[in-house]
Amino acid sequence: MALDSKIPEGPLADKWTNHKNKINLVNPANKRNIDVIVVGTGLAGGSAAASLAELGYNVKTFCYQDSPRRAHSIAAQGGINAAKNYQGDGDSNYRLFYDTVKGGDYRSREANVYRLAEVSGNIIDQCVAQGVPFAREYGGLLDNRSFGGVLVSRTFYAKGQTGQQLLLGAYSAMNRQINRGKIQAFNRHEMMDLVLVNGKARGIIARNSITGEIERHSAHAVVLATGGYGNVFFLSTNAMGSNVMAAWRAHRRGAYFANPCYTQIHPTCIPVSGDHQSKLTLMSESLRNDGRIWVPKKKEDAQAIREGKLKPTQLAEADRDYYLERRYPAFGNLVPRDVASRAAKERCDAGFGVNKTGEAVYLDFAAAIQRYGKEKALTSGISNPSEAQILELGETVIENKYGNLFQMYEKIVDENPYKTPMMIYPAVHYTMGGLWVDYNLQTTIPGCYAAGEANFSDHGANRLGASALMQGLADGYFVLPYTIGDYLADDIRTGKIPTNTSEFDKAEADVKARIQKLMSAKGKNSVDYYHKKLGKIMWNKCGMSRNATDLEAAMKEIEALRADFWENVNIPGSADSLNTELEKAGRVADFLELGELFAKDALTRNESCGGHFREESVEQSGEQKGEALRNDEEFKFVSAWEYKGAPKEAVLHKEDLVYENIELKTRSYK
Amino acid sequence: MSGIIRSSIARKVAMALSGLFLVFFLLQHFSINLTSVFSEDAFNMASHFMGTNPLVQFLLQPVLIFGVVFHFVMGFVLEIKNNSARSVKYAKYNGGANASWMSRNMIYSGIAVLAFLGLHFYDFWVPEIVYKYVETNPEVPTRYYEELQHKFVSPVRTALYCVAFVFLALHLLHGFASSFQSVGVNNKYSAGIQKFAKAFAIAIPVGFIFIALFHHFNH
């Protein structure tokens, strides 16, 4: 099948408006006869479900958590971008579009990204109208901050809990529809398979986690808003339950999986403390507004710090290497995430790491505390403030900005980040890859849509900070409600989709057989045992820097691990009641397939772009020497993989990316 | 309006308002008793007024009795309801970690105060009612001080009164301050109100103890 991205005709700025003007609508009376399933209730799923229900469709939502409000969007900290230009610093839709395409290293679709920028302002309006308490200035107007990779302040925020506030906003919109009976929420349910009838997505098979019951649910369209697959690395900033099952099941039923190797490794996470570690905690990128990143200049100092003989605060200014400021004077500590992460890895690999494991760098707020303290002393009318006063005032300012993050850090690490620099290290955070979708967010299966992190569309090879919230809500509030209507306009005469058909029988039988197979494995090793092994392979061979030899080895190792898993996994308990190990096993089984495709995709893409860094593709000379080398000649395309059984047999389809409005440049932050 | 009677918040407010009313009564009662320490005449005069004024006797007294009964009945009803909101109890419950003893044991301090009220009614109120309305004795405006002194001769009774006042203090320490929260007062004056309420909760019972001991040692 040839990929048709269905990008509307016309100039970039008019495409979305033109498209909306031309698409089919469903009249209100008919909407009442149409069902839509939304899987996942994060920002994309929650907002889509609420908006579709407002329009009049009958919506069923599914989430594995005990409440829609717990989806992992809730953990997003820093903020949400919007081209409101409230600061008057020259922002515009075009500039947001440009920054996002550039930040994504020219691997995203122009038209999608422009639409994203175009609706970004609406998102803020909508959320404020819902009662989302964004941070405000003393004048009562909305405050902004700046994020990595851009030169304007366009990020709206609610302290370090922006994701929480936005998700609760979407959840409140859902609640209104649940109260009206327009949304039926199926919580503690996991989607096990997608059901196709005559080639169209017409329902899902879900497992009720409490009873273990396998249920059939039909609909005229299915939206997958199931988030990313960062947990393929075992350790990531994702929630413990975040998984790829729904997307992978759809992939196995015919949806192409795009750019699986594009993974965002976030530079500022709390470093790993030991083998018991179950997850990694992010420290918001917003901290890089005020924190300066450094390692010791001399290896012997780093050594002494690692051994606990030297404290970072004892190190003189001249003995510190603020390596981001040194290497990237224009953007300094605010370079995009992929650049900051690689730079940290480079320093640590070279022996300058500062914690026990040698895998940590400092994020230091001493300078900011001084600066804010002096400023605050001035504005408070304190002449000749003492050093202690300055520190106190400065720490208060920092606390107001990042208090909850500092508290979180102190609880985990047991060190006071106001007094001693934070230790941070990159960790898997976000996956830009996902189900391939066209301009309408439809996958290659008609009637099956993918939104938010679950799709691949807007971030290219690297996502800029504060863009994930924007994309999730744009998809759910402002894109899907239109584009699904266009598709459903053909379904007004279809009537309710029956679930007693052979297609549902077959899908349910497949699901039950798979569960049976898992339960009947020999029972040697726990699910976590396999998950951790997979994670190690992924991190070591498909992590921050990749090469052909390692990737080929990874594919083989994952394949072998998968075979071992199916033979020897140990799942106690029974399948027909609550069984958390069975749930985990189903997810890990899919990660074991995705991981291999991930490596295959990374192997195929022999260029460095965004979060994907190939050691074979590096600038050899000039100012950019040692930086990532993109290869637009050969790789200016989206890799969309078609399922053909074993992941190594997957077939590559290329969607060429056409840039009509942006000139492709080397991404320089120097 | 009909929903309000059954709602948890309305009940909570009713508890607070009846409690505040009783606090006000307590203050009034204390003021009159305090005069007995300084002047026999003043005490007799005030008691005579309260004991014979028809407004006090036939309007305020029934209202007070209703207030007391309401506060207790509502207190018991809520305690039973609240207790049954968690039918399986914790094997280990560390209530002291997050709430004061007073706040967690209002029912016990309340029962102690109720028991004391029984004694108090038996001591003063019942004889008074019998004296005035059953035996219809003629009013002697100077009888009150003597009756008061007479009651505090017994060290046992005096001790019981003192213990009861300690429970009253414990009850007030949580109850008085918390009634403001219940009726929705929580603003910049709250810290001051809390301090005042706590001081009141200690000062008034201590004052009552003082009066009891004063008469015990000065009869």
């Binding site: 009562g140 929480q164 506030q165 413990m240 | 309000i4 948890s8 309305a10 609240n82 094997a91 709430a99």
Partner: protein
């Protein structure tokens, strides 16, 4: 360190549960409480036993999924943290630790330490929203300036993660802190004020219908709340409710 865990085990909602002893060795200070339970579960699984079931997801203190009454306190002895952020350095070698589900009739046990908190969702369904459609042309976000103090207070109330610690800590199993946080968030913002009277009445009615106990102002909820939601919110809700009821 070496610990003795006393954990509530219950097969399902209908079965009777009991406390079971599990000695556990090799616990490290840097582990989170849930990672300590992971270690126990790994051992149980390898012995062919069913692992202890508990709710958890984000493990960074924001999703509100994790619960656990630890030594008689929700989320354990530390303050302003959820169980997933509680670290083992809060305990000593040789300690006995009671681990029980959050208890309230409105939070029935699902299995072991997992409880059903859907009562919270139903309270939110009753009125925890502003009735605004997703039109793409609501008024500009900056059209109504909002006093910073009110915006900040609304935000503080809105940080509630819905974990249920307030109910678990309260001797009356009252859900007032949770309900009042949502009521307050909207009552403090002009966008929410339009429906404020109906909202508070609907949400309180639902709260009562779920079988939560009554608030007696012990303040345990505020102390145990991992997000430090203030008791002020309860006073505000009482006010809102009274004025809504009086105005009819």
């Amino acid at each position: 360190m070496k610990l003795l865990l006393k954990i509530w085990r219950q097969k399902d909602a209908k079965s009777k549960g009991k406390i079971v002893d599990y000695p556990l060795d090799g616990v490290e200070e840097d582990m989170s409480f849930l990672e300590m339970l992971d270690v126990l579960n790994e051992q149980l699984i390898n012995k062919g036993e069913e692992p202890v079931v508990f709710d958890h997801d984000c493990r960074e203190g924001i999703c509100g999924m994790c619960s656990l009454q630890i030594n008689g306190e929700p989320h354990g002895p530390d303050r302003q943290v959820t169980t997933c952020q509680l670290h083992m350095r809060m305990f000593n070698d040789g300690d006995t630790i009671f681990i029980e589900p959050f208890r309230a009739n409105a939070f029935p046990v699902v299995k072991d330490l997992m409880v059903d908190r859907s009562a919270f969702d139903r309270i939110q369904h009753a009125g925890g929203y502003v009735s605004v459609n997703t039109s793409g042309n609501t008024i500009d976000a900056n059209a109504i300036p909002i006093n910073k103090d009110n915006a900040d207070d609304a935000f503080s109330a809105a940080t509630c993660i819905g974990c249920g610690a307030c109910v678990a800590a309260c001797k009356n199993a009252s859900a007032m802190l949770f309900t009042s946080a949502k009521v307050s968030q909207y009552a403090l913002l002009p966008q929410g004020q339009v429906e404020a009277a109906d909202r508070v009445q609907a949400m309180v009615a639902q709260m009562d219908a779920e079988g939560f106990g009554n608030c007696t102002n012990t303040g345990a909820c505020e102390i145990e709340c991992p997000k430090g939601i203030s008791l002020e919110n309860i006073a505000r809700m009482n006010r809102e409710y009274l004025s809504a009821s009086i105005k009819g």
